[in-house]
C-alpha cells in the first residue's frame, strides 16, 4: 500500500516537473530552429497559436549567429542587465548583512519599531513606490542613470528581514565571548556573524539576483534612453522586430542565472531554521 502510494507520488511529481520544465525545453529546442520555422510557428495573424513544434525542421545555429554576430544591440542589452544586477546584488548583500546584524544583536532606541517599519515596506507592492521613487530620483538628477535602479535595489528591506532571521539564532554567548576578548563590532561581524550565515547570504544573493535580472518596471519608468534598457525589457518587446531570434536571446539570458544557481544552490538553507554548520 505504501509502495503504491509512493509510486503515485513520484508520478505526480514527475508530471509537475515536466510541466514546469516544458517552457525551458521548448525554448532550447526552438533556439535551434531556422527563423522561417519560428515565424511560421508563432504566426498570430489569426489571434491563436499556429503550432507548437519541438523538433526543428533543420537544426541550425542561425539564431545564435544572428544574436552574437548580426545583432550586437542585444549583446549591449545583455551588458545593461549585468551592469544593473551585479552592483545591486553586491550592495544589497553588504548593506543587508550589516543592518540585519544591528537589528538582531544590537540594542538601540526604537529598534523594534524601526524594524516594524521595514516589514511594512516589504509588504508594499513595488508599483506603490514607483512614483515617489521617481520624484526622489528626479530631484537627485539620477533619472536616465543606472544608479536609479541600483540604489533603490541596494537599500531594499527584503535582505535585512531575511538575514535578521539567520543572525537571530546565533548564540549571544559567542558575541559576548568575542567582546571579552576585545573584539570590536566590525571584528564580531566579520569573524563571528558572517561565517555562520553563509546559507542566508547565499539565499539572499540568489533571490536578489533573480529579482534584479528579471527587472522590467523600473527601467521602463526611470530610463528615457532605450539604449539603457536591460535584456529583460527588450525580450518583451522583441516581438515587434526580430521575432525569429527570440529563443536564442532567451537562452543567452538564461545562462547566467543557471550558472549562479549551480554555484550557490548547495549553500542555500532556510533562514528560519537554525543550523549547526
Amino acid at each position: 500500500m505504501k509502495k503504491t502510494k509512493n509510486i503515485f507520488k513520484y508520478i505526480l511529481l514527475i508530471i509537475i516537473t515536466l510541466v514546469f520544465l516544458f517552457p525551458v525545453v521548448y525554448m532550447l529546442a526552438a533556439s535551434f530552429m531556422p527563423e522561417s520555422q519560428v515565424n511560421t510557428m508563432l504566426d498570430f495573424t489569426n489571434e491563436e497559436y499556429k503550432s507548437i513544434e519541438l523538433i526543428p525542421e533543420k537544426a541550425t545555429g542561425e539564431q545564435y549567429y544572428q544574436v552574437f554576430f548580426r545583432r550586437p544591440q542585444y549583446l549591449d542589452k545583455f551588458w545593461n542587465s549585468v551592469i544593473m544586477t551585479f552592483p545591486t546584488v553586491i550592495g544589497q548583500t553588504v548593506v543587508s548583512a550589516m543592518a540585519a546584524f544591528a537589528f538582531a544583536k544590537l540594542n538601540f532606541p526604537f529598534r523594534d519599531k524601526l524594524f516594524f517599519v521595514y516589514i511594512i515596506l516589504l509588504i508594499l507592492p513595488l508599483q506603490v513606490t514607483l512614483v515617489p521613487n521617481y520624484m526622489v530620483l528626479e530631484n537627485l538628477n539620477l533619472l536616465n542613470n543606472f544608479l536609479a535602479v541600483i540604489l533603490p535595489g541596494t537599500f531594499s528591506a527584503f535582505g535585512i528581514c531575511l538575514l535578521r532571521q539567520s543572525i537571530k539564532y546565533i548564540p549571544d554567548s559567542s558575541i559576548e565571548a568575542a567582546r571579552i576578548d576585545g573584539a570590536g563590532y566590525f571584528k564580531i561581524f566579520t569573524q563571528i556573524i558572517l561565517p555562520q550565515i553563509k546559507g542566508g547570504l547565499a539565499t539572499l544573493v540568489l533571490l536578489t539576483f533573480i529579482d534584479n535580472w528579471n527587472i522590467v518596471e523600473q527601467p521602463l519608468i526611470y530610463f528615457e534612453d532605450e539604449g539603457m534598457y536591460p535584456l529583460s525589457v527588450t525580450l518583451g518587446d522583441i516581438g515587434n522586430s526580430d521575432f525569429g531570434i527570440i529563443f536564442a536571446c532567451g537562452v543567452m539570458f538564461m545562462v547566467v542565472p543557471l550558472l549562479i544557481f549551480a554555484y550557490g544552490h548547495k549553500d542555500i538553507d532556510s533562514p528560519f531554521i537554525s543550523t549547526d554548520k
Partner: protein, 137 residues
C-alpha cells in the same frame, strides 16, 4: 568534493561565457564582415559599343566591365547590389551579351536599370541573394 567541483566548473563556465560575450560585443561586426564575401562594385552605365568608343542611348543596353560578367557566349550573369534592412544583398541577373571590346561587354538585361551597382570583384563565390560586405574602393 563533488560540491566544490560543481562550484569550480560553474565559476569557470560563467567567467568564460562573460568573456566570450564581451569579446563578441566589440568584435561581432568585424567577424561578421570577415565571414561574408567582400565585394567591390561599380555603377552600371547605359550605352552601346561602337567603333568610335562608347556612346549613351536610351535603350536597355548597358556597358558592364568584363570582370563583372560570369559566363560565356551570348548569355551571362551579373550580381546587382541591393540594400535591404541594413544589409547589402547580391541579386543574380541574367544578361544577353551583344558585344565586347575586351574591357566592356555591351549587354541587354530587362532587370537592370541605370544607376544600379554591380559586383566586379569578390573574395568568395556568390550565389543569388547572398549577403555581402561592400568594400570601398
Amino acid at each position: 568534493m563533488k560540491k566544490d567541483k560543481i562550484k569550480r566548473v560553474s565559476l569557470v563556465l560563467g567567467i568564460l561565457f562573460l568573456l566570450v560575450v564581451l569579446f563578441l560585443t566589440y568584435f561581432s561586426s568585424t567577424i561578421d564582415a570577415m565571414l561574408i564575401p567582400n565585394v567591390k562594385t561599380t555603377e552600371v552605365m547605359r550605352g552601346e559599343l561602337s567603333e568610335e568608343g562608347y556612346y549613351y542611348n536610351q535603350q536597355d543596353r548597358f556597358l558592364i566591365p568584363v570582370k563583372a560578367v560570369s559566363g560565356f557566349g551570348e548569355t551571362g550573369t551579373v550580381f546587382v547590389i541591393n540594400w535591404i534592412d541594413g544589409d547589402y544583398y547580391a541579386n543574380e541577373i541574367e544578361v544577353q551579351i551583344i558585344g565586347s571590346d575586351g574591357m566592356y561587354y555591351e549587354v541587354y538585361a530587362s532587370g537592370l536599370h541605370g544607376g544600379n551597382r554591380i559586383i566586379y570583384s569578390t573574395s568568395k563565390s556568390l550565389t543569388d541573394v547572398d549577403r555581402v560586405y561592400v568594400v570601398e574602393d
